[in-house]
């Protein structure tokens, strides 16, 4: 696995100081904002998990359940952790990320060891069918996305410019693209917990302004290096203003690295579109 030459922003922006056993101080960077202008949920999760990794005697997160209680802002954050249980193969710990005395994120996660995972016994799903990254379009392509700073640190290559970006939502709640950290930072397990939340919500393809994640589960299967990763997100159900979302990240050899599942609230657009297919009218 190739190590970057100097600390990547992801590493400096998730760093922490130990204040006391189970008490950590960190600082949420403004370099990982999504289109709400607030820090992206995956980045905030990684900040919390990094303190948790200092709490548990296992090297990697394996299953993570995050509850987004309130939105975060860039600036100081404290993280409190509790080791719940340590078994032979799995340790469980809980973390709470607090800003201005108010809890923002609660995480309970299982940790284990992803070294020497071996080949899958079963892999009955295929990675997304994508043209090579060099035949894809750069999502940013010189035109910053309003309020978004995440793209300063993470690259995206889409088969074609997505509808939400061109003002013509496709009506199809699937999103497929290549992604990677800039500057050749590897996609280790902590990085993957950030990247699973790095895609624009598929509900933006039916006219939503975005999505507010309420609950996020991440399962980690394997780490990867700095190469392009294939990302797929699908929303299958929208009911009463809430939606589900399933995410997978695969390496360029077609091996599953991580999967995630979300329960989230639609953020309606102030300017509903009149595209064909499902729309958010009535939400």
């Amino acid at each position: 696995m190739t190590a970057p030459c100097s600390p990547h922003p992801f590493d400096t922006d998730t760093a922490f100081d130990t204040v006391a056993p189970g008490k950590f101080a960190s600082n949420l960077s403004s370099g990982w904002n999504n289109n709400t202008g607030h820090p992206n949920g995956g980045y905030v999760l990684a900040v919390c998990l990094r303190s948790l990794l200092a709490t548990v005697p296992m090297p990697h997160p394996r299953a993570v359940a995050a509850s987004y209680v309130r939105s975060t802002e860039s600036g100081p954050a404290s993280i409190e952790t509790d080791l719940v249980h340590t078994g032979r193969r799995v340790a469980t710990a809980e973390g709470r990320l607090v800003q201005h005395g108010i809890e923002r994120l609660r995480v309970i996660a299982q940790f284990g060891d992803l070294h020497n995972t071996g080949e899958p016994t079963l892999a009955s799903d295929d990675p997304p069918d994508l043209p090579p990254p060099e035949h894809c379009v750069d999502l940013v392509a010189g035109a910053p996305i309003p309020l978004v700073t995440f793209t300063d640190n993470v690259e995206y290559r889409y088969p074609e410019m997505p509808g939400w970006r061109t003002g013509k939502p496709s009506g199809v709640t699937t999103s497929k693209f290549w992604t990677r950290f800039k500057e050749h930072r590897p996609a280790d397990s902590l990085g993957l917990t950030c990247l699973v939340d790095a895609g624009a919500a598929p509900v933006m393809e039916i006219g939503a302004a975005g999505s507010a994640t309420i609950a996020l589960s991440v399962y980690l299967w394997r780490e990867a290096g700095p190469e392009w990763l294939a990302y797929r997100a699908v929303t299958r159900h929208i009911i009463g203003g809430y939606h589900d979302e399933d995410v997978e990240i695969w390496d360029c050899d077609g091996r599953l690295l991580a999967e995630a599942h979300k329960f989230a609230l639609i953020r309606p657009s102030p300017h509903p579109t009149k595209e064909r297919g499902p729309t958010l009218e009535g939400q």
Copy 2:
């Protein structure tokens, strides 16, 4: 929604006494055991959620994340709950189920209101294709499954007897059947959190003895009455002895009621099979 004439075992077996604010006493019944001889995880989750429902000002669980820290046994259990946050539409609370002074299950969940949910804005997935229940076979059919008592309270109708039951695993890690509580108990949201974990693990179709759930997420979309419910579970990935599993429960009109996602550990069979397709050799 039809109410049962007398309390159903599910209701008596999830009942609790309030000991103090946020402290509850319950008793895990031996009537909901799976094939390990221990209480089924979905039943234990429902016990914990029922105390949580007494803690939050919302009527229904919407998103539930359960961490199975240690196995449970039938007998007394205490539940401690904390209200994390109450918003306008969503409340978040945490529960810890303890037996003999040792934490067994930790749950963090979001609660809301499933009344007047309305029709889906998007439903891009179909319920499982199943023959009518009266053309299906009864999983139990007079022959109890060793150690399993769950089937005393919940009924199952399969298109054909599943391979794990006949000693001839199919090699296909998908499970589809009809299910319902016996005695016409409705599938309310609490009942659904039990039923999403009520199916034999699809990995039993490739020779596993069973599965030990480590992390379970449940999303609740709609409640149902006492009618037959269509259940589908799929395992797509098995890597290094762990597997994923996606579960859906649909009503008989084809409306999604609940979905669940699991990260779990394979329990290998002491007598591996030699069927075609993926097997657990090498686990």
